[in-house]
């Protein structure tokens, strides 16, 4: 595993300082990602998914308490870079991001084409004329007619704006694109169209995605590998084939059983209780108060990530 993965994350931590105490939003998270591979990060709201995106792109709020660990991109530890170096050489030129609800965050007074071209001008120093030309190409690639480059965001539909935001994330030819709930505000048919677009991009360019979503069914549209987050930690990390057919962690199993399906008959289950507060997560395994398979050890000692099969990690004492 050493040195082969494009992205290696080890013991990444992002804690926030709040009036009530320290919020452990991302707590010692490790995973790796190959070139051209898509990792889906799934979990319920408040489990630290979006904080993970912030930690990877170093877009941090002011109240950071702890931010450390190792993030290696092609062997280079990004955590050692200064703020300025990271901004100049990494963010957007190597790692770009599509934020949740980004289609509604376009600047209303700037033309769409200019906004798509901006990262090229800012990060790569491309002259304006050329950048605008590239923006038109990028729009065409995401399935929007290039004449829309000269329009303002309000003239585009929600789906078209989302495509424009994706074009913006791709224009600098990054190695990794982080998609944080990229379709959560869109209708199902539009969502399916955007997923088709992302699949095409994934096949055409050897690009890696980190796809963050709360929607398990939707995650299977892109995921080659899946990481399940619970209370700031990754509790299971495995291949898509394994995860969607045979999840191992009791939380993953319950989560899967609570997904309503259209084509198969199954009895829906739910998980009693609510996810814990990240201010004071339960000792031991963070899921043990809601887990029906808990043994005494679960409440006392935190389980390690156990490799139950090749590249299938489960953070649970049942597999120790």
């Amino acid at each position: 595993m050493v040195g082969v993965a494009m992205l290696e994350v080890e013991n990444l931590r992002l804690y926030y300082a709040t009036r009530k105490g320290v919020v452990k939003a991302v707590d010692r998270v490790s995973f790796d990602l190959e070139r051209g591979e898509t990792l889906a990060i799934v979990g319920e709201s408040g489990c630290g998914k979006s904080s993970m995106a912030k930690a990877l792109t170093r877009l941090l709020p002011r109240n950071v308490h702890t931010y450390d660990g190792v993030v290696r991109l092609d062997g280079k530890n990004l955590m050692e870079l200064s703020e300025e170096e990271f901004r100049k050489n990494v963010r957007w030129s190597q790692i770009s991001i599509v934020f949740q609800g980004a289609q509604n965050a376009l600047n209303p007074v700037l033309k769409v084409g200019f906004q798509i071209a901006e990262p090229l001008m800012v990060h790569d120093g491309v002259p304006k004329e050329e950048a605008l030309k590239k923006a038109r190409e990028a729009l065409r690639m995401v399935g929007v007619h290039e004449s829309f480059a000269d329009r303002y965001p309000f003239e585009l539909s929600g789906g078209m704006r989302q495509r424009a935001v994706i074009a913006m994330a791709l224009i600098t030819n990054p190695k990794l694109v982080i998609l944080d709930e990229p379709t959560s505000a869109l209708d199902v048919i539009t969502q399916a169209n955007i997923m088709n677009l992302l699949k095409r991009i994934k096949m055409e360019r050897n690009l890696s995605f980190i796809f963050i979503t709360h929607d398990i069914a939707l995650s299977s549209e892109l995921a080659d590998r899946v990481a399940v987050m619970y209370a700031g930690q990754i509790v299971e990390l495995t291949d898509a084939e394994e995860f969607y057919t045979n999840p191992k962690h009791p939380y993953s199993q319950k989560l899967m059983a609570s997904v309503p399906t259209l084509r198969t008959d199954k009895k829906l289950e739910f998980i009693p209780g609510a996810p814990p507060s990240l201010l004071a997560p339960p000792p031991g395994c963070r899921f043990h108060p809601r887990c029906d398979k808990a043994i005494p050890r679960c409440g006392e000692e935190e389980p390690p990530a156990i490799e139950v099969k090749e590249k299938h990690y489960v953070k649970c004492w049942l597999y120790a």
Binding site: E44, G143, R200, A240, Y244, L255, S258, L262
Partner: protein
């Protein structure tokens, strides 16, 4: 077995005939007024105790239809008949109070739907006070019973709490308790679980279903999520751009969709499956039309993969293709 009290002669609790709700977006003083046709000619009937899922994308008019049925919007045209009485333009205050008692709404956002300065107890007492039901003692009994039914126990712990002290799932239980406390016979639930986490959604849906069945309530469940409808209702209505384009028994519509729009909607929804990433979804491009001066003819025609010349000029009628399974499409005429 089901009690049939106070329904019209034909056994329906609710009859909706060619209901329209148009919003005026530009006043016409010198020019023609502009209308946003959110609900544009909808007809259906429901018997007591029936549950229906009203499915559509955002902007399809599903919320407007739900609110118009509850007379929270004044209907523009058409008829609403409830328990045999025409309530479309109910003006008499007493009758309106009666209709408010008989109907209830559960909203999408439980945080926004609860006054933050009231305790849970007070929130549940409010409808009882407004409708002058019981004395203090009787009200307390009813409130505790309602909390127990939605399983917010021990009730003494929850009653004095304020909304911000509860989780989303717990608050939605309060919303359900409030909706049911006056014993309504018709409840509209507008996206009641879409703001909740996946793991608690099922719990809330199960609870609503249980209460709907045990109290024989007619339930309209508004949702954009087709995959939850199977677990909730025996009927399904599919809305597109202000029209109901297909309606029928839930299982039959999902297994054998007739309208091209319903087919597209079903094709767009993934089930968790590792094979998904290897194939493209067969969905039409484009987005729903604007409801201000919508296109003539079938409103799905501009996106429809099976469109014919006729579809663009003339609005299709609703046809009953099989027993109780209706579709509004020229392919079946």
């Amino acid at each position: 077995m089901r009690e049939v009290v106070g329904v019209s002669g034909n056994g329906y609790l609710l009859e909706v005939e060619d209901l329209k709700k148009w919003f005026e977006v530009r006043k016409g003083l010198f020019s023609n007024p502009l209308w946003l046709k959110a609900v544009d000619g909808v007809s259906f009937e429901l018997k007591p105790g029936e549950a229906v899922s009203l499915v559509g994308e955002s902007g399809s008019g599903k919320t407007t239809l739900g609110k118009t049925i509850l007379l929270l919007h004044e209907p523009t045209d058409g008829k609403i008949i409830f328990k045999g009485e025409d309530v479309t333009h109910l003006k008499d205050k007493k009758r309106l109070m009666w209709y408010r008692r008989e109907t209830a709404l559960v909203q999408q956002d439980p945080f926004g739907a609860m006054p933050s300065f009231m305790t849970i107890y007070r929130i549940l007492e409010e409808p009882l006070i407004i409708h002058k039901i019981g004395d203090k003692k009787e009200r307390e009994e009813r409130i505790y019973k309602a909390l127990e039914e939605v399983r917010l126990t021990p009730v003494e712990d929850f009653a004095p709490k304020y909304p911000h002290m509860l989780s989303g799932g717990q608050l939605q239980r309060v919303a359900i308790a409030r909706a049911l406390i006056l014993g309504p016979s018709l409840v509209v639930a507008d996206e009641p679980v879409s703001m909740l986490d996946a793991s608690v959604r099922v719990e809330i849906l199960n609870l609503m279903r249980e209460m709907q069945e045990s109290r024989n309530i007619t339930f309209i469940y508004i949702t954009h999520d087709l995959s939850t409808t199977r677990y909730f209702s025996e009927w399904i209505f599919i809305m597109y751009a202000g029209h109901i384009v297909e309606r029928g028994p839930t299982q039959r519509v999902i297994r054998n969709p007739l309208h091209p729009y319903t087919k597209a909607l079903l094709a767009a929804i993934p089930d968790p499956d590792p094979e998904n990433r290897k194939r493209f979804r067969d969905v039409p491009p484009g987005e729903p039309p604007a409801l201000i001066n919508p296109p003539p003819g079938c409103r799905f025609a501009p996106r429809c993969p099976q469109v014919m010349d006729k579809c663009k000029g003339e609005e299709p009628p609703e046809v009953e293709v099989e027993h109780n399974h209706f579709v509004k499409c020229w392919l079946y005429v």
